[in-house]
Structure formats: structure tokens, C-alpha cells
Symmetry: C2
């Protein structure tokens, strides 16, 4: 164990201004959970609210709860809270559907705003569902839309006069590399393209300033750093300047200007509600709202400061203890370029992640050889980082990872 | 009160083979809930399962619950249970997304199977979101797809050689009229079109035999007769013969053949899973599964028999007590043509529905003048029907409906 880092960790925990948030979450004693970038932990309030939602709102209120419990406005109400985390205004974000479905909505809306152009551009290393949704749009377009992926460093140069929209993830899901949202948005817009930002690993993880970056559209995930629960509804941001002209393709009744007038013809709602489609997922929104509400109480500057300190400590400790064990840092060393995670490659990464679980340290694995450790300032302690690296060191030096059950165990997300 | 019908109701309750199901649901004493066609009531098991899902599966199991609690298979597992209610095979139904989003999936899949044709046909009186989703597909197609609505009686004749797919609701949301699924499917297929059936008011309400009717695609709602909770995930059926060739447009990562291999190119899953898109809404699926499981325990022939008996009793009592009060039955008098609801028009329908709520009778209203009363055999008693009609009679004859608060009250869904 590194005495210096361990002492530093204890000192940092003793003065952590966010330390009080940990008690707002249900965390099993002994567990070091470094996978909040995949599925966030449960706010205690979420358990209370789910009971209320089913026994009081559903069972007791029944149909009257659409108004009485304000179910009907949940996508907008939760969206407004998320907007506050992302540098967006109330009325620019809704919570609904999945990230994938929201990518489809944002891409097709952007295409409708840029009718002379037909290419959707992304980087090859983007998250798979971003690629797949692009390919779906292109496949349905009958040849008018093309989906194109280029190497990350070639992206800006690849924005030619056919590129209608660029789809980019702000914080890379594997490496944690942060894209400069303001710079890339300005470069794309200068070339006549719009940008859809995937904030799945940004929202609640780093400061985001959508309107400061003059962003067009964004989408993101409710179940990671926002702690919204498994398969939580996702969110969609559309800059207000685009609301009137962006044509919804997933034009369901909840996006209609008058959903309960039961008109035969679709008229899009004037504001962000036009990006709603079907009936809102009330139970999922109930849990998500609890996670978002806690995040909204925290000071984002303090969150970021602690996130950076956690990852700096993690890297320092790995450098000191595990530098000759085959790990290669693939996250940026410059904390300004790094999201709220630290990732390494290791040829035995898969088995190591499995072996760590049996020592009550949860990280995750991404093919072919990436170990990801999510660092969530709301509920992690500095000493958890010291203990996690100690476990990594033990698992590798003891050879514990090299067991058939660790190699064979099925893994998911 | 009609003595004859009342006596009959008591006799029917005394011998009702489904009477035991009522206790499986949380129902407030005194409430007569005739709105299960809009939002079904809560299975007691759903409250227990939601607590388990958040405190054990989410909070305790965290990321391991994707496998440990089988979250990853929930769309298929719940879909298989729904399949059993609809005359479909395991592996032909998934539970996911909203009905509106699933309409989009089914329509675009059908279009991909019928490439020489470009019209989506429906009847003008179909539910609004069915129209809106058709219009969204057409709007995005750049002129290659047209959305067309015709009067119900003109529908079959309107299937010309440009109609790729017909979108029809089996049980009409306002009148409860049942379309003959087998006959219309055969007529459409004979003319070279596919059919997408909207089963929102069928699933759990009437016997459905999708494969017996050689159906192509179907979608439907989880929160009505299936008692899946507010905004529950919806379902999608695709006949097995269409799986290999139907091209998903909403091609998200959960529909990929190898979702966790993180490939750059989309390869559709071989089976029904290709109609999944984003990460499944686990909490919503948990509640839905409880409602579907109870429905699966009931004998569908007994359900239908009781549903018909409830509606026959409702109409007989309305005929006897309210025939001169301005109500006009718009549901078919022939029970073979009627779903699990009874609907009337009345010029003061809106205010009457509101006034009934204050007498603890919940029906619902559909513009401009329709009162709908859903009849749900799993938890309604025959004497509830007698009491409901007594309340309708009192509200109208006393003039209680004619109050400003009933006229002004906002209504939803």
C-alpha cells in the first residue's frame, strides 16, 4: 500500500464537502462500486417514491393521477431538472423513451432542418448504438441519407457540404476522453452542419454547458451518473431556436399540440413536447426524478473537483503499485480531458474484472481488453480508490484472476 | 332500481368462476372502476415486486442484476407471456417502448417487406396516435410513402396495388366494435398488403388468435386490460415468417445480434429481438409482468363469457332505467361484435362523467360526446354494473351533472 496516497485519501475524505451525499444512497457495506458509469446506485428516496407511486398514485388515484399526481407533465418536469444540470433552459429538455430512440428523434429532426444535405457523420469509435441508429435512418431513407464514420482525428475535416448532422459523444464511453463541445459545435456549424451530442457519460459526470456551446441537439442516459434506475427513461435536448422548424418523425400523440383533442391530423406541439411520442413511462420517470433531484442539489464545481481528485488519486496509485502488471492507461493523463472514469487495457482484463467482483470491487469490462472504473463523487470515498487499487494489485499478483470461472462468466453491459 | 336485473346480478356474482381474481388487485372499497380500458388497476403482487426490484435487484444487485435478476431477458420473457394471451408463439412478441414507437417499428418493417408499394392505409376513425405515426413515416420518406385514411366501410375496397400495409385497431377505442381480424387479414393479404393490428383494446379484453388469423404484425398497450401500470411498456408481435426479412429502422443496440460485442455495424438479431431498440425499461417491465401473469392464469373463454355478460347486463339496465335520458348506445348491440366496453353518446357526456366520479363511479369521456365504460372481468362484479347504472340515473335525473365544476374540470386520457 502506498502510505502517501493512503494518507492523502484520508485527509481528502475528512474535508470532502460532498461527503454527506453518500448517505442519500443505498449502498451495501463493503462494496466498492466503480460502475456508476454503467448503472448508478439507488437513491433511498427512490425506494420511498416507488412505493408511493404504485400504492398511492396508481392503486388509489388510478386514472385521476394523470392530473392529480402530475403524471402528464413528468417528461417535462424531469426534463427541466435535467436541463439545470446541462446548461439548458427549462423547456429545452424532455425525459422520455430510450437514448437510442432519442438519437433517432434528434438525427431526423436535424435532417429536417438541413434539407439540402444527406450525410450523418460520426467517429468510428462512437458507442455502437449511435452507429446503429444512424444506419437505421440511412437504411430507411431510400438512399437520400448516408451514415458515415471516420477516425476521430479526421472528423472535423470530414465535414463537407453534404454533412447535415454530426453525431458525437462528448465523453468517450471507453477512454473517458472529453470532446470540446463548444469548439466542435462551432466548427461544424461554420461548415453548415448541425451537431447531436450524446451526453450519456457526461450528464451528472462533468459540467456541461449546452447553450454556452450553442448546441443544437443532445441526448443522454438516465441510468448512469443520474442514478435513475435500470433502463431509466433517457432525455433529449433541443435548442429553443429549433423547436418551431424541427419536424418530428416519431410523431406520437403525446407530442401533439392538443393530445386530448383526438384530431386526425398531427400538429406538433410548439415547444420541446413535440419530441415526445407515446404515453410517458410513469414508473421509470418516478425513479429517475429522484436521482436527478439529488444531483441537482450538488454543486457541479465541487462535483467536478472531486471527480478529478478521485481519478488523479486512482492513476497515481495505479502508477505506484501496478505499473509493472500489464495495465496501460487509455484515459487521458490530463484531467481536463478526462471524464469521470479511468480506463486501462490489460490482456486479461475480462478475467480481472470478474475476479475483482469476488473481492467486492465492481468495475466493468469493454471488449476487447478495456477495464473501466467509474468515479462517482456523490457516493464514492477517496479511501475506496485506495482499497480498489489494492484489490487490483492483489488479484493480479496472486494470480487469482486466472481461474476458469472468471474466464467463462457471462457479462453484460 | 330494476329488480329483475339486480336479482340476476346477485345470482351471477354468486356463481362467478372468476370472482376470486378480484382479491389479487388493490381496489379501494366503494369505488366502481369502469376505466380499466384506459388504466388498469394495480395487482397486489406489483407493489411487492416493485419493492423487490428497487431494493434487492437495483440497490443490492446493481449491475449484476442484468443477469442475476434476468433483466436482460425481460422484454422477451414478458413478451412470451403476452404471446400466450394472443394466440402467438413464444419468440413472436417482445415488450418494450410505447405503443406509438412500436407502431413505427411495425409499419416500417412491413414497408421493408413490401418494397414495390408505398401506401399505409387506415380508417379515418382509428386512434389518433395510429394516424400520427403513419404521418410521421410518410413525412420522413421524402414522398415514397403515403399515409391514407378512408371511412371504415370503404377500407377493404381501398386496398389497391399501392397499399403496402394496412394499420387497423381490432377493438375500436370509442365504440368497442370488433373488427374481424381473420377476414380482414385474408382480404388484405389477397390484395398483396400486410396488416398491422393495434391490439390496445384487445389484449386481455377479448380472445385474440394472431396466428390463427395469419396476422403479420401487431402492437398493443400494457397499461389497459393487462394492468401493467401507468405508461407501462407496450408490446410488438411479428409473425415468425417475417423475422428474417423485416429490416428494423429503429435499429438500436438491444436489437443487435450480439449487443455486447460492440460491433460498429448493425446486424439484426435473428428473431423477435430485432424489434428491440434501446436499453429495456426494467422497472416498467417489472410491473407489467405482474399484470400479464395474472391475466395468464385466467381462462380466456371464461373471461370473454363474463365480459359479455357484464356488458349485456349494463345495456339491459341502461335500456330499462336511462332510455329517456338522452343516451345513445354506440357500441354494437350484438355482443359478438363488441369488445370489453360499452359506450354511449350524450350531449352532456363530459359533465356526466365528471359528476359520476364524485359518486365513486369512474368511467371516461372521449371527445366530442362519448362516455366509455370499460368492463374488466378480472375485478368487476355484476352488482357493480347495477350500482353504476343507478349512479348514472341519479346524476342525470337529479341534475347533479349541471354544475360549473363538472363542466370546467380538466380531463386527460
Amino acid at each position: 500500500m502506498s502510505g502517501v496516497n493512503s494518507t492523502r485519501a484520508n485527509a481528502l475524505d475528512a474535508t470532502d464537502p460532498l461527503a454527506g451525499f453518500r448517505d442519500r444512497f443505498q449502498l451495501r457495506e463493503g462494496l466498492i462500486y466503480l460502475d456508476g458509469n454503467s448503472l448508478g446506485v439507488m437513491p433511498k428516496r427512490a425506494a420511498e417514491r416507488m412505493v408511493e407511486a404504485v400504492t398511492a398514485e396508481w392503486a388509489e388515484g388510478l386514472i385521476t393521477s394523470w392530473l392529480g399526481a402530475d403524471w402528464v407533465n413528468a417528461p417535462r418536469r424531469v426534463g427541466d431538472k435535467i436541463a439545470g444540470l446541462l446548461g439548458a433552459e427549462p423547456g429545452e429538455v424532455i425525459a422520455a423513451d430510450s437514448t437510442s430512440v432519442n438519437i433517432f428523434k434528434a438525427l431526423t429532426a436535424a435532417l429536417s432542418l438541413n434539407p439540402g444535405r444527406g450525410t450523418i457523420l460520426t467517429e468510428t469509435t462512437n458507442f455502437p448504438t449511435d452507429h446503429y441508429m444512424m444506419q437505421g435512418v440511412a437504411g430507411f431513407s431510400g438512399g437520400t441519407v448516408r451514415a458515415k464514420g471516420v477516425e476521430p482525428e479526421a472528423l472535423v475535416d470530414a465535414i463537407d457540404d453534404d454533412v447535415a448532422v454530426v453525431l458525437l459523444t462528448q465523453v468517450h464511453y471507453k477512454s473517458g476522453l472529453i470532446r470540446d463541445m463548444a469548439a466542435v459545435t462551432a466548427q461544424a456549424q461554420a461548415k453548415g452542419a448541425l451537431v447531436v451530442w450524446d451526453l450519456s457519460h457526461s450528464a451528472g459526470a462533468i459540467p456541461v454547458d449546452l447553450n454556452g456551446a450553442n448546441a443544437d441537439f443532445a441526448v443522454g442516459c438516465g441510468y448512469k451518473f443520474l442514478n435513475g434506475g435500470p433502463g431509466a427513461p433517457a432525455f433529449l435536448f433541443a435548442a429553443r431556436r429549433h423547436h418551431a422548424a424541427a419536424r418530428p418523425v416519431l410523431s406520437g400523440w403525446f407530442g401533439h399540440a392538443a393530445p386530448f383533442a383526438f384530431e386526425e391530423g398531427y400538429r406538433a406541439a410548439p415547444g420541446i413536447e413535440r419530441f415526445l411520442c407515446g404515453t410517458p413511462p410513469v414508473l421509470g420517470l418516478t425513479a429517475l426524478e429522484c436521482g436527478v433531484a439529488i444531483m441537482a442539489e450538488a454543486d457541479m464545481a465541487q462535483l467536478r473537483e472531486k471527480s478529478v481528485a478521485l481519478s488523479e488519486l486512482f492513476i497515481a496509485e495505479m502508477d505506484e503499485r501496478c505499473s509493472d502488471l500489464g495495465f496501460v492507461l487509455i484515459s487521458p493523463r490530463d484531467p481536463a480531458l478526462r471524464g469521470s472514469q479511468v480506463s486501462y487495457t490489460h490482456p486479461e482484463g475480462y478475467a480481472i474484472v470478474q475476479a475483482l467482483k469476488d473481492r467486492d470491487v465492481t468495475g466493468d469490462f469493454r471488449a476487447p481488453d478495456v477495464l473501466r472504473f467509474g468515479l462517482t463523487p456523490l457516493y464514492l470515498r477517496y479511501r475506496d480508490v485506495i482499497d480498489a487499487v489494492a484489490a487490483i494489485h492483489e488479484v493480479v499478483t496472486s494470480g487469482d484472476w486466472d481461474k476458469p470461472e472468471y474466464r467463462q462468466r457471462a457479462a453484460v453491459t
